[in-house]
């Protein structure tokens, strides 16, 4: 049995054996900004998107500012909890959380909370480059040996997969949007910095987001 490979829900074969920076990893190294653009391009129903601290939200900003985007400027680790809260409050709207590997490491337990609640409208995307890119590209403690998909599955999220390449990412994300179960898509990415620079105005970001998802006039 080849334990490096798994059949994902869309039928594509994905590697899920090792994280970004790991020699055993079979997934293609991709670019966060390019994939963020592909992801945003698939959003047709005013889905909410939470961009995690740093490059995750910089690239979300650069991919085109949607009223349904929330750019998290601080509170490292809370991207998925914030997304989960939005998903609880608005069960009819799909919510996407874009999180980095270093950030998720700060709050791994939140995956078990998502697994417990099983929101039907929640997708998590994990950008894994194995480094704290924004602070000087120091390797994370997980780099090279931890497998975030295995971690997510172990915490109770079976619909977790590595994206093998760009097309696989598109398929996984399209499937996640209509799957009715919480999904996690891990993506091995390069070490390039974020492309945009989010305007750092927390009240404006929060207000626009609430208006964008119909929670405020």
């Amino acid at each position: 049995m080849n334990t490096n490979m798994t059949q994902n829900q869309s039928g594509a074969v994905s590697a899920h054996n090792a994280p970004g920076g790991g020699a055993a990893h079979n997934a293609k190294v991709m670019n966060r900004f390019e994939l963020t653009k592909r992801l945003v391009g698939q959003l047709k129903h005013e889905e909410a998107v939470i961009g995690g601290i740093g490059n995750a939200n910089f690239d979300l900003w650069a991919a085109g500012q949607r009223p349904q985007n929330f750019y998290m400027l601080g509170s490292m680790g809370l991207t998925i909890p914030i997304g989960l809260g939005v998903a609880i409050a608005q069960p009819q709207r799909h919510v996407v959380a874009l999180e980095g590997d270093g950030s998720l490491l700060m709050q791994l337990g939140c995956l078990s909370t998502v697994a417990m609640l099983k929101p039907k409208n929640f997708t998590m995307v994990l950008w894994d480059n194995g480094i704290y890119q924004i602070t000087g590209s120091q390797p994370t403690p997980a780099a090279g040996h931890a497998d975030f998909v295995a971690i997510a599955r172990g915490l109770g999220l079976p619909n977790s997969n590595w994206a093998a390449d760009e097309e696989d990412f598109d398929r996984l994300f399209a499937t996640a949007l209509k799957s009715g179960v919480p999904s996690l898509i891990a993506v091995r990415i390069d070490n390039k910095p974020g492309v945009g620079a989010t305007d750092r105005d927390p009240v404006q970001i929060r207000t626009r987001f609430m208006q964008g998802i119909g929670a405020k006039k």
Binding site: A48, T79, P81, T113
Partner: protein, 188 residues
């Protein structure tokens, strides 16, 4: 004025009926449309947590860490649902970054209930140290904080403060003293 009178009457009714503190907290949350309650467990809060679980009005569950709970209620507020977080005193020490970099700058009316440990008979030094730092942290962040010691003031403080938090887009912390809840003491 009439609202104030009604509150006073309600408090008196509670007192006469001997309504326990946790029923008053639950009723105040409900009457203010606070539907989501996320907690990290605490012995003193156990009757409140159980009562909230038993009431189908609420969406309630445990989070793995207090700052995770803060993130969840922040998202829920932005999505249009009011939320409260329950924690014990030591757990408060995990949330200052979430308050300083998310709740306060984003103006989120997070409702934070802390079971006060570390005073009035504490046996655990860790709780006592966090108890000493909790109020200075909240003060320096400018977070409205009420220490509640009396059951006749409980409904009024919580009801009015939730309304103020929502109206002014500001978090509020309720520190429930052992004088109110009985606290937790070491078994002899």
């Amino acid at each position: 004025m009439s609202e104030s009178g009604a509150q006073t009457a309600e408090v008196s009714a509670h007192e006469k009926a001997g309504t326990p503190w946790h029923e008053i907290v639950l009723a105040s949350l409900k009457s203010n449309n606070v539907k989501l309650v996320v907690y990290v467990p605490d012995r003193v809060f156990t009757p409140l947590i159980k009562a909230i679980h038993d009431d189908p009005y609420f969406i309630t569950f445990a989070a793995t860490r207090e700052e995770e709970a803060i993130g969840i209620v922040t998202g829920a507020w932005m999505g249009g649902m009011r939320g409260a977080v329950l924690m014990q005193t030591s757990g408060f020490a995990t949330i200052p970054n979430a308050l300083a970099s998310l709740v306060c700058p984003s103006q989120i009316p997070a409702l934070i209930f802390v079971s006060e440990r570390g005073t009035l008979g504490e046996f655990n030094l860790g709780q006592a140290m966090v108890c000493k730092t909790m109020r200075p942290v909240l003060d320096s962040l400018g977070v409205e904080t009420h220490t509640i010691t009396r059951i006749d003031e409980l409904a009024f403080i919580i009801d009015r403060s939730i309304k103020q938090a929502v109206a002014t887009l500001a978090p509020v912390t309720f520190i429930l003293s052992p004088l109110l809840t009985g606290g937790k003491v070491i078994k002899q």
